[in-house]
């Protein structure tokens, strides 16, 4: 498997070649589950591209296939049929370990329920992906501190998740997603457990990260979240029913205009 990857990205000929193609290239992707003996066709010959630097919202009711899409794009699962290239790499061809390496190096996950390790400090949680990338302790420490500081949590390095507010926990999770410098952030209902002001903060953070060049795919069913994305994909019955581009709202501006509360939960 590939060697441990340095925090600073080095020039890589394969990458330069790959940078001409879309970051996510999905062609006739199908996924069929067997649920209680019945085949469920969660995705039906879906084709879509996501370019580098996009902020895309994936919408649709439950059962529309958006979670399946996210699992496939996130290299957590392999398609039944069709092809998926992430950053030029054919995901369907990957072994289990190959998928793990892709998740580790290319993707940062953000979940609705934060999914932090309960007994690990903020710092240790952020370090986790680097542990599996094989980075040594010193470098992990330094990089995790750097990312947490960038996210605005430089003061809370040694707090356990239970000692942090929901918004802070989600920031730790975002820091964890960023620590290995992924090409893609996949966020599944990232504001689903947060109040509206904190949601706004998180969306502002995503917009800021996107402005710095990171591609973000948000899975959500809330139009209030989707309005911050420049592109909205709508799923229904395992198929893409809408692909709309829009002028996104500015979360940071709304945040500045919103009345301050004494307690940011």
């Amino acid at each position: 498997m590939a060697a441990a990857r340095a925090p600073q990205r080095r020039p890589d000929p394969a990458r330069d070649l790959a940078s001409d193609m879309p970051l996510i290239e999905v062609r006739e992707l199908s996924k069929t589950y067997t649920l209680g003996g019945e085949p469920v066709r969660a995705l039906r010959k879906l084709s879509v591209d996501v370019e580098r630097g996009e902020l895309v919202a994936v919408m649709g009711p439950s059962g529309s296939g958006k979670s399946t899409f996210m699992n496939l794009v996130g290299c957590l699962d392999r398609p039944t049929k069709g092809s998926y290239r992430l950053d030029g790499i054919d995901v369907a061809q990957q072994s289990v370990d190959g998928l793990a390496a892709l998740r580790n190096r290319k993707i940062g996950f953000v979940f609705q329920s934060f999914n932090l390790l309960p007994r690990a400090t903020a710092l240790a949680n952020v370090e986790l992906p680097m542990v599996y990338a094989g980075a040594d302790r010193t470098r992990r420490r330094a990089r995790a501190r750097e990312v947490l500081a960038m996210i605005g949590l430089g003061e809370r390095l040694h707090h356990l998740p239970t000692q942090l507010s929901g918004g802070q926990q989600q920031r730790v999770a975002i820091a964890r997603a960023l620590v290995n410098e992924p090409v893609l952030i996949l966020a599944d209902e990232p504001t689903g457990s947060l109040d509206s002001r904190t949601s706004l903060e998180i969306m502002a953070l995503f917009q800021k990260l996107n402005a710095s060049g990171i591609t973000i795919v948000l899975v959500t069913h809330e139009p209030d979240v989707a309005r911050f994305a420049r592109r909205v994909l709508t799923f229904r019955d395992g198929k893409l029913r809408g692909d709309r581009r829009q002028e996104p709202d500015d979360a940071a501006a709304e945040l500045a205009a919103a009345p301050l509360r004494e307690d940011a939960a």
């Binding site: 498997m1 793990a100 390496a101 996950f109 999914n115 390790l117 986790l128 542990v131 599996y132 094989g134």
Partner: protein, 413 residues
């Protein structure tokens, strides 16, 4: 390739185990007790064996004893020793006619009251020939052994065993002092080196040695009928000769000398002492094996306890596993994480058990007075084995954790 270093994995395992201290402690209990039992049992077994081996060593090597046997007189079988038909000539014949016999040392022995000053002590008085000490590989701790001429002229000299020396003379040196046996005075010329107990628990140091002739004529008495009789003949077989073959040769010779018909029983008994002791050694070894087997079973039970708790732990931490998989852990990373946790549990339990086991061995030695011997090798083996138990019984839960589907695991509540 990548992943956590071993030290880090152990640290992280300890963190996980600390999260549930009581449960971790209870899980370790099985291994803890198992290892403690192994070490204590092996220490007892090794102690017993060391004692038996010491007894074998104290006998001298390749020793057989010929004793007078029973005779059948008119259908009445008298007990062993009743015939008293071993003679000095038998001893001489054994030594001369059977090449395998290196030494045939005649002895006479009997229980006598020994008096020294105002103290007296009932002990075994034994008359010996010079070859006896050589055969038994027995030397003095102070003074000297009998000189050949002292034996020949029936000198009134004596050697004391350690027990007798201590009883009659306490701390003072008995050499040069005198004792009386049946009112016959003897000068003490030496104290014998300690021999300890025989395989049968007899104190070999509770003895007084006299020259053979002196003992027979001055203490036990002779008459015309038994003038050349001896009590026992101690035989030393030459190094490298076959003990069983020598025994057969001796039996044939003695039967011939005693003019026994083919249908008559032996009127003597030949005992292979080394063999008896070796049998005891073998049985103590068997005992040690048995104890080790019992201990191994308790370790296995401890291992099942670990497996059980690790399975619970995998279920409880399904979501954690999902998160780890999502951020790039490979199945083998998850597997080694849980394997290391199980092994840490079992090795910690094993190490604590080793401490208890050593303590128990020491306590048994001092309280019950049993000889125990804690061998560092057996301690290392027990701890190593508990590590193997952890790996063996931790493997299935770890494998289960590694096989979890990341999507399912992340969804797990």
């Amino acid at each position: 390739m990548t992943g956590m270093s071993y030290a880090e994995s152990v640290r992280s395992a300890l963190t996980a185990l600390r999260a549930n201290p009581l449960r971790s402690a209870l899980t370790m209990l099985g291994i803890f007790i198992g290892v403690a039992a192994v070490i204590a049992m092996v220490a007892i077994g090794a102690g017993a064996r060391a004692m038996v081996l010491e007894q074998i060593r104290s006998l001298g090597s390749n020793i057989m004893i010929v004793m007078p046997g029973n005779v059948t007189a008119g259908g009445v079988r008298l007990g062993a020793g009743a015939s008293a038909r071993l003679t000095l000539d038998d001893a001489a014949a054994l030594e001369q006619e059977i090449p395998a016999v290196q030494i045939a040392a005649s002895i006479v022995r009997g229980s006598q009251q020994v008096v020294a000053g105002n103290l007296n002590w009932s002990t075994v008085v034994q008359g010996v020939v010079p070859g006896f000490f050589e055969a038994r590989e027995w030397d003095v701790s102070s003074g000297r052994l009998f000189l050949p001429e002292e034996i020949d002229r029936r000198a009134q000299v004596a050697l004391l065993g350690q027990t007798v020396a201590r009883t009659l003379f306490d701390e003072s040196d008995p050499v040069g002092q005198s004792i009386r046996i049946r009112n016959v005075p003897f000068t003490i010329i030496g104290v014998l080196a300690p021999k300890g107990q025989t395989t049968f628990g007899q104190d070999q140091d509770d003895i007084v040695m006299l020259p053979f002739g002196t003992a027979r004529h001055r203490i036990f008495g002779v008459n015309r009928a038994n003038a050349r009789n001896v009590g026992t003949i101690v035989i030393k077989i030459r190094e490298g000769d076959d003990m069983a073959q020598a025994e057969d040769d001796m039996r044939a010779l003695l039967r011939q000398r005693h003019r026994l018909q083919a249908n008559q029983d032996d009127d003597f008994i030949i005992r292979n002492l080394t063999e008896i002791a070796a049998t005891r050694d073998a049985s103590s070894r068997t005992l040690a094996l048995l104890l080790a087997a019992v201990a191994a079973v308790s370790l296995a039970v401890g291992g099942i306890g670990i497996m059980n708790i690790m399975l619970v732990s995998v279920t409880e931490r399904t979501r954690e596993i999902g998160v780890r998989l999502a951020v790039g852990a490979r199945p083998r990373d998850i597997r080694s994480q849980f394997l290391i946790e199980a092994t840490t549990l079992s090795v910690l339990g094993g190490a604590a058990g080793a401490v208890l086991g050593i303590g128990a061995a020491v306590a048994i030695a001092s309280v019950a007075g049993w000889p125990t011997l804690v061998q560092p090798g057996s301690v290392a083996l027990a701890i190593g084995f508990s590590g193997l138990v952890g790996i063996f019984f931790g493997f299935y839960p770890a494998q289960r954790a590694a096989r979890l589907d990341p999507i399912e695991a992340l969804r797990h509540e």
